[in-house]
C-alpha cells in the first residue's frame, strides 16, 4: 500500500474499512468478484485451505476478499459469498471510486469487459498479496503451491512483525 493511501470501503457487515485497518495486523488480500465462478472460487478455497493449514495462528492474519465489481457486489452479497469458503474471510466492497482508489494503492488492476448478451465480466489481478502489519506488500501466494507453502510464508511474516 502506497504511503498516504486514502480510501474508505465497507466490510461485509457494513462497517468502515480504511487503510488504518491494514496497519493493525498482516493481511492476505484476494481480488475478485462474485460473478466469477471459475477463478475466484479456486482462489478463495485456496485461502480457506491456507487458514486451515495455519491452525490457531490463522487468527493473526486477516483474510480479505476485495471486489473489483462494486456495482453488483453489495455487502450482503460479499458476506454470503465469502462464507461459502470460510466464514473468517472478510468481503470488502464500497463506492466505485473508493474501490478504484483502494485497488490503485494496492497495485491491483481491473477492467470491465462487456459481453455480447448485454452483461459484463471483469478482468482482474489474480495474484494474492500478503501485506505486513503496516499494509506493505511483502510476498505473494501462488495457487500452484500447496496451502502449506502459503501457510509457511504467512508464518515467516508473523515472526518478523
Amino acid at each position: 500500500m502506497a504511503e498516504g493511501a486514502d480510501w474508505r470501503l465497507l466490510d461485509e457487515t457494513g462497517s468502515a474499512f480504511t487503510p488504518d485497518h491494514l496497519r493493525t495486523k498482516p493481511t492476505l488480500v484476494v481480488f475478485g468478484f462474485t460473478h466469477c465462478p471459475d477463478v475466484c472460487p479456486t482462489s478463495l478455497s485456496y485461502v480457506a485451505g491456507t487458514l486451515q493449514a495455519l491452525g490457531p495462528q490463522a487468527e493473526a492474519v486477516r483474510p480479505l476478499f476485495v471486489t473489483v465489481d462494486p456495482e453488483r457486489d453489495t455487502t450482503d452479497v460479499m458476506a454470503e459469498y465469502t462464507d461459502l469458503f470460510d466464514p473468517r474471510i472478510i468481503g470488502v466492497t464500497g463506492a466505485p471510486d473508493q474501490i478504484s482508489a483502494a485497488l490503485k494503492s494496492l497495485g491491483a488492476y481491473s477492467r470491465k469487459v462487456p459481453q455480447d448478451d448485454g452483461g459484463y465480466t471483469m478482468d482482474h489481478t489474480a495474484t494474492m498479496l500478503l501485506l505486513d502489519d503496516q499494509g506493505r506488500p511483502r510476498s505473494t501466494l501462488d495457487i500452484h503451491e500447496k496451502p502449506e507453502v502459503a501457510a509457511g510464508k504467512i508464518r515467516l511474516l508473523l515472526e518478523k512483525s
Binding site: 466469477c36 478455497s45 488492476y109 459481453q115 478482468d123 489481478t125
Partner: protein, 154 residues
C-alpha cells in the same frame, strides 16, 4: 474364506460401488461425455461453472453447437486465461473434439458458464445439461454439484 480374501472381496465391492456412482456418462454417436460436475454457489448467485470431458472415438471431428439446462437461462463455453498477473474470462470459440482426441474442461481453463441461475446450485444436487453437437446431435448428461471450491469431480 481367509480373512484376506474377505477384505479383498469387500474392497472390490466398494470399488464397484464407487465406480458405478462415478459412471455418470452419456454416449451419442462416436462421442462419450463424462465427468460432468459443477461447483456449489450461494442461493442468490447468478453465475456458475460446469466442467466435463468429451472423448471422440470416431474418425471425424465434431463440435459443440449449443448447450441448455433448466437451472440457468444460458449455458455457454467460456475460457479463462491468465496473462501476467491478470485473469481474463471470455467466450470460447466453438469447442471442437478432434478424431480420437478429447476435450477436457477444468478450473482455470475451459468451462461451461451458467448464466442467470434460477436459485443457485446446492452441494449434492444433480441437474441435466443438454449438449447439441454439430454431427452427433443432442445428448443429455447429469451434472453433479460438488463443493464451492472443488477442483474436480468428487
Amino acid at each position: 474364506m481367509s480373512k484376506h480374501s474377505v477384505i479383498a472381496g469387500a474392497a472390490a465391492l466398494v470399488l464397484a460401488f464407487v465406480a458405478s456412482a462415478h459412471a455418470e456418462m452419456a454416449k451419442v454417436g462416436d462421442l462419450v461425455i463424462e465427468q460432468a460436475w459443477a461447483r456449489a454457489t450461494t442461493p442468490s448467485a447468478k453465475t456458475g461453472a460446469t466442467y466435463l470431458s468429451v472423448r471422440n472415438t470416431g474418425p471425424e471431428s465434431d463440435s459443440i453447437l449449443s448447450m441448455e439446462t433448466p437451472v440457468a437461462s444460458h449455458a455457454m463455453a467460456h475460457q479463462t486465461r491468465q496473462e501476467n498477473d491478470v485473469s481474463r474470462m471470455s467466450e470460447a470459440g466453438p469447442l471442437s473434439v478432434p478424431p480420437g482426441g478429447a476435450l477436457e474442461m477444468k478450473p482455470g481453463g475451459t468451462h461451461i458458464m451458467l448464466m442467470d441461475l434460477g436459485g443457485g446450485l446446492r452441494l449434492g444436487q444433480q441437474f441435466p445439461l443438454t449438449i447439441t453437437f454439430e454431427k452427433a446431435g443432442k445428448v443429455e448428461i447429469p451434472v453433479k454439484v460438488g463443493k464451492p471450491g472443488a477442483m474436480g469431480p468428487e
